[in-house]
């Protein structure tokens, strides 16, 4: 098969995937999204021979538009635009989880500093302020006091672009110094790890220590539900342990897996390639049936 890989930079994650695809004898068409132009009806020539496209764009804006264009052209793409649209925005992400009955931290959104302050006072201290778009734990604020809240909100309102005037405020979850990242394909867990840190942020990108984690039945159930809630695909689902249950705080749609691949015994890129192969087979079967 011929796999189109949308990218703007090749990280270790993309390289693991590219190497595995080539090892299996597949053709790979690397498509640097910075060089492409997207027409309303005809796909760029770079997409001519691809059986499926894997979106590995780093930039959320590019990911959202290009997946939409590809679906309009009828080119299969993973993850879907619909999944990307939900996962790219923390407010939509939280709503999808809540709508599906998946436990998720209590969250409120407001659009003015005064309304945001009211939420902060209601949640009490500490609480957490997050940008609706963004990753790797950047620009996350743990608000410990009224003075800090006023300063952070004023900074965001004054210095940020319009997205920073969407105030996404969340209760602070007392987790046991770690959270859990699950890589799942259409809700089926492939591998899981804990990310531990003394810092309140436990993102791998913030230097948290990764260790393999065995999911129990409840965690597996929540992973399936969370995946279904955002439309499925190759996802990174983040859970926190609350003592009696789990809470799912986020689902990521262009998931990094290099840290996971090192922490677990599973060959993560091989599993992703297995899935891509089955997706292409499925697309071919569908095309033959409708021919």
């Amino acid at each position: 098969m011929n796999i189109g890989l949308l990218y703007s930079r090749i990280r270790r994650d993309e390289k693991l995937l590219l190497n595995k695809l080539r090892d299996r004898g597949h053709e790979v068409t690397k498509i640097d999204v910075r060089k492409e132009q997207f027409d309303l009806s005809e796909p760029p020539a770079a997409f001519d021979d691809v059986d499926i496209v894997v979106d590995r764009c780093l930039a959320t804006s590019r990911s959202l538009y290009i997946t939409r264009f590809l679906q309009s052209y009828g080119i299969p793409v993973v993850n879907s635009h619909e999944t990307a649209d939900i996962c790219a925005d923390k407010a939509k992400n939280s709503l999808a989880l809540a709508d599906a009955g998946v436990p998720t931290p209590n969250t409120k959104v407001a659009f003015t500093v005064d309304s945001a302050m009211d939420i902060v006072e209601e949640f009490g201290y500490p609480c957490v302020l997050k940008p609706v778009v963004g990753s790797w734990g950047r620009l996350m604020a743990k608000i410990d006091s009224e003075a800090a809240a006023e300063a952070i909100l004023e900074h965001k309102a004054t210095l940020g672009n319009y997205e920073h005037k969407v105030f996404y405020i969340q209760e602070f979850v007392e987790k046991p110094g770690r959270d859990i990242r699950v890589l799942a394909i259409d809700g089926e867990p492939i591998a899981a790890m804990t990310r531990s840190s003394d810092h309140w942020l436990t993102n791998a990108a913030k230097g948290a220590d990764a260790e393999a984690f065995e999911l129990d039945a409840r965690a597996k159930e929540l992973v399936q539900q969370a995946s279904d809630a955002v439309g499925g695909g190759l996802l990174g689902i983040d859970l926190m342990e609350t003592g009696t249950d789990y809470t799912v705080h986020e689902v990521n749609h262009t998931v990094e897996f290099k840290a996971l691949n090192e922490a677990v015994d599973v060959d993560v890129p091989a599993t992703v390639v297995d899935w891509l192969e089955s997706k292409v087979e499925g697309e071919k079967t569908l095309a033959e049936a409708s021919a």
């Binding site: 930079r9 090749i10 963004g134």
Partner: protein, 59 residues
């Protein structure tokens, strides 16, 4: 076959070693300055300073 190849660091002008399976689009840290460099061509291997991190990048 050698496991490494060399290319010029565009910031310092020094020759730096890269893995022989380097890809266009791959990001390399400059050993001298730590700056992120992007592989923009393979024949010969050419490096440029990588674009800076943007607000909506990641996961």
């Amino acid at each position: 076959m050698s496991d490494t190849i060399t290319a010029e660091d565009p910031l310092t002008g020094e020759e730096i070693e890269l893995p022989s399976d380097v890809e266009v689009g791959e990001i390399i840290d400059s050993p001298a300055t730590g700056t992120e460099l992007e592989v923009v061509a393979l024949d010969p291997v050419t490096l440029e300073e990588a674009p800076e991190l943007e607000e909506d990048w990641g996961e």
